[in-house]
Symmetry: C2
Subunit: 488 residues, 2 copies
């Protein structure tokens, strides 16, 4: 089974696709660019959703649901939004089918043309701010802290499972505030929620920072991002949090009465993460044998396999162990399917990234031990039956930590400071990764560097230190380094 | 606040809309027929989802996600499906917008026409069975027990919040089985899950039964339903579970190899409940003061209100009480907002259907008591501070039971057996409700009765007893009674 995966060294992109398919995470559908998220992949997404949802609620947010469709005219109400936003959208023009007069299935009923076309939401700022106009009258109605879990559609030309698909699942937060300060604080609160989640649950270290003006969300005054580094040295934007100023409030005329009875425009934020996180999760940790999952997001944390096949003694031990692990909140599966041999099962769960495998063999049992195997390091060892439940509980935490540490060390080793364009190109070509360099702050220079090297400014890190330097391209003065990389 | 609700006796339909709006559950959007589910309404839906999802998983199902769009040609592959299914669908014909050459916002780019139109899913049998063809090869791949939580679109002409909207949220289960018996058993398992959920969580009694051939889902061999009775004497179909035979397997060529190496078509089921359940929940229990929620689905189960306003003593007591209730798994809110008076808050939480209200007043505290008020019966009484936490825990169970009992008694009182067409019309006109009557089993008679009375056969109850009788319309022999009603 494992042999079916293309090694990373041979073709990174094919390696990724192989894992997505062979671990049963997702596949392409009959509809161009739309994916099917398979049960195992969806179980991981459910864990991502559940934890993020909990964190949103703990920070005072509530969920709601807004329409799938946006009237075409709404998109052009915020000038920057429509200008900057990709116009590759699914457009609904008719509302009825009819039997083909020639008897060949169904055709679109030409008489059922919509007066105004509807756009399948690519993001929901416009329809939501049009709704907020009725919800916000007074300072008492603020802040409004709403999130929505939804599907969105952007008609991408080149798609890749999870990373970029025409339809994807995401959450989009849309908040309204009385003051600029409060809205900015919200933007940063969410950036912290995202970073905490991606680091502590997905085990992927991120850099928090601001996007350059050129890379900002269309309609935002400031876009913050978390950027992660993949194993091929390319960066992956994993979540964004936008301070929208009063742009959407002005476009949709959303004002509130202050305690002093003055009318003011409302301040806004929006923020989102998507099924793209699945791509980051897969790419950051997996190896040539398959998926590697952090225990906190693994649908099955421990698999127990009878060797070579189940018997009453083995099953009794497995049942007892399962009960102990379940009582500790660990998800465990006993695979006693007699149609598959142990070797096949080992490869299967390795492919699926199950963090811990426990083998129970007849002879081991006589010695009072079982075999414990870690997915992350591939270590195998005997563990006493008396201690194995306690051991596994600790081991899962160790694996979670180890996966993060490995990704963190990789990122540290692949973040390079350079001071000249020559070094910049050299590092980008030979090593890749994040490159920390001075930049003169202009979009012109940013785009020139992109033209020359395909690298973009991933972010201006929030923790960038003040440091006098000169732009690697123009030699103009710069007071802090920014982070460049080639990106997904 | 309560005065703003139209009484049921005056205008039932307006009463319903008033509650939906004033309790903050949902509202119409800028897009025809599409609703906005507001945070409080969505919090109830999240509780419905969480419990159903748990029950699906306990019965062996897993979640997955399939595309929003269905290629037009797929819809006509199963002949009955396309014939019977409403053709009022949202049709995507283009995939790009462009700036209006006349400078007026955006227009559809005429060059970006899709080769084949895409339909926004009205239900997903076709796209899912097209996918299952690749997933099912052998009896080892069966059963396949998959559910999806999704939005679907049916271009309804007359819409009503939650009850019938162009876009709605639902779950759709799609299972594949090796044998007919297993598929039928699955259909009935899910019918039981639905009935258990609606009765035990929503507090709404249901009749389980089969639909007549005429009312079957397009493409099904048998459709089972749960039917609930609303306070206006009309029935509401609350969930359906379909045995699809081999119809979709044949249309999409889904075969499996038996253990004997024979190729056979797969047997199928599909089943769903939607945000319509919210309509049933609201209509079944609410009164002229607002929403009445069963405790198991109430986002806030207990609200604590300081009278007339918070002070240190009251807040200390509230904090202690909240801690005790939260430890018992009860969701509780302390409303210490000083901008609103107690009377206003009372009306507000009454409107929102919060099951238990605890008032903490200065003078009551001196006596060591608080005031407990039940939303369902509107009883109010003093309860000792020492016992109130324990009492409230029991009270929530009592309220849950009482709400169900009330709805059950109402249904019993409004289910009438009749033996003649004259009585049928009389009962329907004067009393409404379910009418149990003999029917000759033909679609012709069923449709004639509908034409004459607007009543339809809601179901052939699963527990209908064998009983010789004659059809109320034709006098032909019948061996069991079926359930008629006017319906939503």
């Amino acid at each position: 089974m494992a042999k079916e995966i293309t090694p990373r060294s041979e073709d990174y992109s094919k390696w990724y696709n192989d894992i997505v398919k062979k671990a049963g995470l997702a596949e392409n559908s009959a509809v161009r660019g739309c994916m099917v998220i398979k049960p195992y992949g969806f179980a991981i997404w459910e864990k991502i959703q559940a934890q993020l949802d909990k964190m949103f609620k703990e920070t005072g947010h509530v969920n709601a649901y807004f329409p799938l469709f946006i009237p075409k005219s709404f998109l052009s109400k915020e000038a920057q939004h429509v200008e900057g936003f990709a116009k590759e959208c699914a457009v609904v023009t008719h509302h009825r089918l009819m039997n083909d007069p020639n008897g060949k299935g169904v055709v679109v009923d030409p008489t059922a043309k919509l007066e105004e076309e509807l756009i399948v939401r690519p993001t929901s700022e416009t329809i939501i701010w049009n709704t907020y106009r009725d919800w916000i009258k007074s300072y008492r109605d603020l802040p409004l802290l709403i999130n929505q879990w939804a599907n969105v559609v952007r008609w991408e030309m080149r798609t890749r499972l999870f990373m970029r698909t025409a339809e994807f699942l995401w959450q989009e937060g849309h908040t309204a505030h009385a003051t600029k300060e409060e809205a900015i604080a919200e933007t940063l609160t969410i950036l912290d929620v995202y970073a905490t989640f991606v680091e502590q649950y997905m085990g992927v270290p991120v850099v928090k920072g601001a996007k350059t003006a050129n890379e900002r969300f269309a309609g935002a005054d400031e876009t913050y991002t978390i950027e992660a580094l993949m194993q091929d040295g390319k960066a992956l934007q994993s979540g964004t949090s936008h301070f929208l100023g009063q742009n959407f409030a002005k476009a949709f005329d959303v004002k509130y009465l202050t305690p002093e009875n003055k009318e003011e425009y409302v301040w806004a934020t929006s923020w989102g993460v998507s099924t793209r996180l699945m791509g980051a999760l897969i790419m950051a940790h997996s190896d040539d044998e398959g998926l590697v999952l952090p225990p906190k997001l693994a649908p099955i944390q421990v698999v127990i396999i009878p060797i070579p096949k189940p018997n009453d003694d083995i099953t009794a031990v497995a049942d007892k162990l399962m009960a102990e692990l379940k009582a500790a909140g660990i998800s465990v599966k006993y695979d006693d399917d007699t149609r598959k041999r142990p070797g096949f099962k080992f490869a299967e769960y390795e492919m699926k990234g199950v963090p811990v495998r426990i083998g129970i063999g007849k002879r081991d049992l006589e010695k009072g031990v079982v075999e414990v195997a870690r997915r992350d390091t591939k270590e195998k060892y005997s563990e006493s039956l008396d201690t194995v439940a306690t051991h596994v509980k600790e081991l899962l935490d160790q694996i979670q930590d180890n996966i993060y540490k490995k990704a963190f060390d990789f990122r540290q080793a692949n973040t390079t400071s350079v001071d000249t364009m020559e070094d910049f190109k050299k590092v980008l070509e030979e090593k890749g990764g994040f490159i920390s360099a001075h930049w003169d702050g202009t979009t012109e220079t940013e785009l020139k560097i992109k033209d020359l090297t395909k690298a973009t400014i991933r972010c201006i890190p929030n923790d960038a230190v003040e440091e006098a330097g000169t732009c690697i391209l123009t030699g103009k003065p710069s007071n802090k380094r920014v982070l460049f990389a080639k990106a997904y």
